[in-house]
Amino acid sequence: MTIDPEMAEIIKVFFQESREGLDAMESGLLGLGAAADSENINTIFRAAHSIKGGSATFGFAEVAAFTHGVETLLDEMRNGVRPVTSEAIQTLLQACDCLREMISAAEAERPLDRDRIAAINGDIKHILGTEAAPAPAAAAPAPSATDAPPQAASLPAGWRIGFQPVANLLRLRNEPTRMFAELKRLGALGVHADDSRLPALEALDPEACYLSWNLELTGQIARLDIDNIFDWLDSGCRLEFTEVGAPDLAPGAQSQSATAVPVFAAAADSAENAAESATKATESATKAAEPKHAMASEPPRSAPAAASPPQKPSGESGSIRVATEKVDAIINLVGELIITQSMLSGFADGVEPEDLDRLRQGLSQLARNTRELQESVMQIRMLPISFAFNRFPRIVHDLSRKLGKKVELKLEGEGTELDKTVLEKISDPLVHLVRNALDHGLETPERRLAAGKGETGTIELGAFHEGGNIIIEVRDDGAGISRAKVLQKARERQLVGPDQELTDEQVDNLIFMPGFSTAEAVSDVSGRGVGMDVVRRNIHDLGGYVQIFSKEGLGSTIRIRLPLTLAILDGQLVRVGKEIYIISLLAIVETIQVSRERLGKLAGRAEVFRLRDEYLPVVKLCELFGVAGESRSTEQGLLVVVEADGKRAGVLVDDLLAQQQVVIKSLESNFKAVAGIAGATILGDGTVALIIDVPDLIRSVAKQRVAAHAA
């Protein structure tokens, strides 16, 4: 179909919201395993319901049809007609996956995997079909409450619907005739338009909707099905439902039958429940609890209060979607402001003495303001780490089933915030670490019992702030790393010399060695498996580092330290000749005065430095970067000991200057990546300084190519 750009934008939002809905469904379903509370099922149901409504509106008929099956099952669960079995939950989880696929397919305009859809649909039908027998029994008390689940016995013979839309109905891209067409599918429909509000021609706004309608729908139709059709209306629209030929009204149904209720205030529960769930929906951050579906059978006056607040899912309470580019632009501006401020600070020295105090005062204020502004602007990019953590209940659920292990997942510090970019890039490494912990760390129930531990293992994911960093920990109480086996494996692979003695820490760190982890045999024993080197590489690329603590038999902890943001870096300014470079403080271990006797030359070329019991390769920045002019020789300089990828090196510089936060600018945006340079920044005097890429520097040292550069 052809879609105009504006529509495409709206559809994009639909995809996005559907995914969020699916996430909510998934976490709800996983929560169901423990206790099947109705609030939870409601949440899941509402999420499914929104997806169905949206997909139908935007013409994704297959998605809508599929979701309908899911919704039917959920609805029966919600009404207590259907027991919540683990089989059903499993099927619903698969349905979530399938829906996610379908939505991705719809977005990418790929063909759908029809076999899979049919298979899961079959499963759902199977569940619905086989246990249909108890349904009538369970539904027996239904007539007392006319809140009408689809299968409930007492349906009215028809509905009279008064529909008075808001004036901007059409601008909101709602098309009444389409709704009527949908209604026609449910039963015979009579439409009477009321044009009494139509103004004189000169006063008429051609885009406004002045009409209202009286609809007569004949047939035994559940209220829910009608609500579905009107689901996407703005909450300002008014709908009046009157049952035609309804049985005697039960107390709970009084309000809904003849009273005008705002569109989405579908009476489906008792008044108390309604109020409660509506408040919960706004208060708690349950994502899918959309206020527009909030049950409210209160009199109309109070109902809009429950139904009208944000149109967005309340999980986003107080949050906004901002284009990253816009935020980046602000960050740039703020960086500029800071530069201006430092320039001004420089001028202060040349002003008349009497002005000086005032100027200084103003400047300190400017400094404070800019700092605050910067902090608040940076906050825009910050997201809670729960965005990354939320995937784990499902992953752990699936994987533990597959591996036959019993696991309890504990999440801690989900509200800890970090930069969106960092968050996105850390998700995959985290998945990897959790999978590893589950696969190789935790033992089977039998082994655990044999080792005198509880049958159920624990994996803990925690996050907290420490200084300007965020620490993420993945802890398990599994078998830990068997150092003997790891060492043996490493010797077999000649990663470690036969006579080389290693500390426990060094042995643990062997699992990060490339080539070590690819061996399937390692996962058989107890070392952690695949791609730990990749995990470490990813974390280093983010400017962080990873540590491992392990106690054999008691479990392991992997600790990741990351900068809160990629936009700012705590830097140490160093001078080499007349040039200034920046080294990330996170990478600096220590700085020492170089003394001659501790320097040695390997093969007369590569210099090494003896630091306590360790020999460090020495990188002479002046030679590596070809710095012109004089640079003091090795014995007079300072050696900055840096670490990355578990390796250390000494970087020889002439002088240490200030430590300061620097705004990272990409060299690539206008130029190109340069070896040994991570980026650039702008200093207080407006000049550009280059940021040294420590991991790259160390890698190049490891490759022994420094000599080639220096030559």
Binding site: E579, G626, K665, S666, G676, G686, V688, L690, K703, R705
Partner: protein, 171 residues
Amino acid sequence: MSTARATTNRDRTAAEASEQYLTFMLAGEEYGVDILRVQEIKGWDKVTRIPHTPEYILGVINLRGAVVPILDLRRRFGLETIEFGATTVVIVMRVVGAGGERTVGVVVDAVSEVYNVDPADTKPPPDVCGSVDTVFVKALVTMDEKMLILLDIDRLIGSSVDRIASGAAAA
């Protein structure tokens, strides 16, 4: 001015089709670049050198918060280098390459004029063209009895930057 003379001889459609070029001097020759690509012209200022780059990349400057590379066109063309003087300017241009749009500054001896050039008047460059690599020359055109060398800056800057080994390879 020359601009006016260049247009009066032609009919309206040609005037509309004509392209404006900013010209600059480099070792006695006059070169032209599409004026729509020129972002600004600024005086020569100190740059920050970047290691592991060819000598024609002088370094990077801070252009209102953006880090912009500066290319010395004399060095790029293998011409004799001169001391930067009062007329030395940096022409900041937007160039389009494989990696998207870049902002790049080019150091030239002096800026000269803005000419309207009718594409019909341009001649393809001869196969041999002195010091300048002919692939960077879009066309030649005669304006006020002078020869203008119209440069294809996308190609010129693109090839200059691409010749530099990327970060990983140079390590």
